[in-house]
């Protein structure tokens, strides 16, 4: 079962007892603040979907709880519409969403319209943090910072919408710096985490186990590369992973993973241009990329197409496709708005 990335809370009779617009003296449910704080500490992002007047948010504010929520949706729209709005802004899948509400009608309605969303009775709020799907599977700095990163991302989105002119000008204004390096042992938990969590930008969709990842890491003919990204709003941490299988004349990308938080910023292209350059420097002619189509990863196939890879019909079969780039004919260009600063082995982070 996939882990929960986002918890969406109702307000009345969920965060507090009673209905705030009828009773200005409503009291928080005992221990609710601890639950919110613990979920935040685990890097889960939290939001609100409440059928209410906007005034209800003043109660959230006065209880000192606003710090826990991003994109609160307080209006009279159906909850499923509000959940969809939140999910789109955060760019996560519905199957990573938990919805907590005291009202069985609301839970059933969400369940019917958005079957991937997991719903929980507000009465069970204390038990949430005990459930397996709410655990932090990989305790990495990126995981614990996730809530903060979603807030930074919201700020970027707002600026992007404000930004007039071409998208490229907006991307240039972000001052993005991508730093790739050859992974070492310290990077393995983050690699495992991205293998487990990444859906859209996962070139194969295969959920390798920690043991398999360790085996790849130790294999002589394989190498893991990771890539971090920073921009003027903050640090995304390590958000790209690639596993290369080396052959005398080719670098074969067995796995390419990009955190969905960096989607659409050119990191994939920057990372691949770096890998292409390394392959070229080691005297290889071919950069090949394995691609197994899943329901959600078509962007990866398109990415290869966009960068000028061609499908290799001989190496492709029904299960998987292989895209190939001929490095003797040119290089993969890094987007003009991303500065690549590769870190060499042994250099401190």
């Amino acid at each position: 079962m996939a882990g929960i990335k986002c918890v969406i809370w109702d307000l009345d009779n969920t965060l507090w007892d009673g209905i705030c617009l009828e009773d200005p003296e409503v009291q928080l449910r005992p221990g609710i603040t601890d639950v919110l704080a613990e979920l935040k500490e685990r890097g889960l992002v939290q939001s609100i979907a409440s059928k209410n007047e906007e005034k209800a948010l003043e109660f959230v504010e006065n209880f000192g709880l606003m710090q826990y929520f991003v994109h609160p949706q307080v209006n009279w729209d159906p909850k499923e519409d509000n959940i969809k709005r939140i999910v789109e802004t955060l760019n996560i899948g519905l199957d990573a969403v938990a919805f907590v509400d005291d009202n069985p009608f609301e839970r059933e309605s969400v369940q019917a319209m958005l079957p991937e969303v997991r719903t929980y009775d507000a009465l069970d709020y204390r038990k949430l943090i005990e459930l397996p799907e709410f655990q932090l599977n990989y305790d990495t700095p990126e995981a614990r910072a996730r809530g903060r990163m979603y807030v930074e991302e919201a700020e970027r989105k707002r600026l992007e919408e404000e930004h007039e002119g071409r998208r490229e000008a907006f991307l240039t204004s972000l001052d993005m710096v991508a730093t790739p390096w050859l992974a070492d042992e310290d990077d393995l938990p983050r690699i495992s985490e991205l293998v487990t969590r990444t859906n859209q930008f996962n070139s194969t969709g295969i959920r390798y186990s920690d043991e398999e990842i360790l085996e790849f890491f130790r294999a002589k003919e394989m190498s893991f590369h990771v890539c971090s990204l920073e921009d003027k709003h903050g640090d995304y941490g390590r958000c790209g992973v690639s596993l290369i299988r080396h052959e005398p004349d080719a670098w074969n990308i067995e796995i390419l993973l990009l955190s969905c938080r960096v989607a659409g910023r050119g990191l994939g292209t920057a990372f691949l241009s770096h890998l292409g350059r390394l392959a070229q420097e080691s005297g290889c002619r071919w950069l090949r990329a394995k691609y197994i189509r899943t329901e959600r990863n078509r962007q990866i196939g398109l990415l290869y197409k966009i960068m000028g890879f061609e499908k290799d019909q001989n190496l492709s079969n029904e299960e998987s496709s292989v895209f190939v780039f001929d490095l003797s004919k040119g290089s993969i260009e890094c987007p003009s708005w991303v500065t690549l600063t590769p870190r060499s082995i042994g250099e401190p982070s």
Partner: protein, 104 residues
Amino acid sequence: MSELGDLDTAIDWGTLMSSREAIETDIRAIVSRALDGAIAPEDLPTDVPVFSGGLGMDSMSGIELLTAIEERFGIYIDDDNFQIFDSLDQMISFVESSLEDSSE
């Protein structure tokens, strides 16, 4: 995603004979929309790539475009067919032949 799919001029492709002009009109509208209207439908060149070196679409808009075409015409675009992004001409021809295949 479906935003690109529901164009104002709804045509029922299941019952209507497909003509190249009608397909082209629709594709121009869809591509222009995927480019956030940066190029008007009638001004789109039909002989340059949709991605880099051409119309400059990225993989995010690319996936929107792919989905919009699939929903619009009720066809499926496999990674074997990615040559459709090499030019609007190829895209139009691909849709045309896919619709012919499915009406047989």
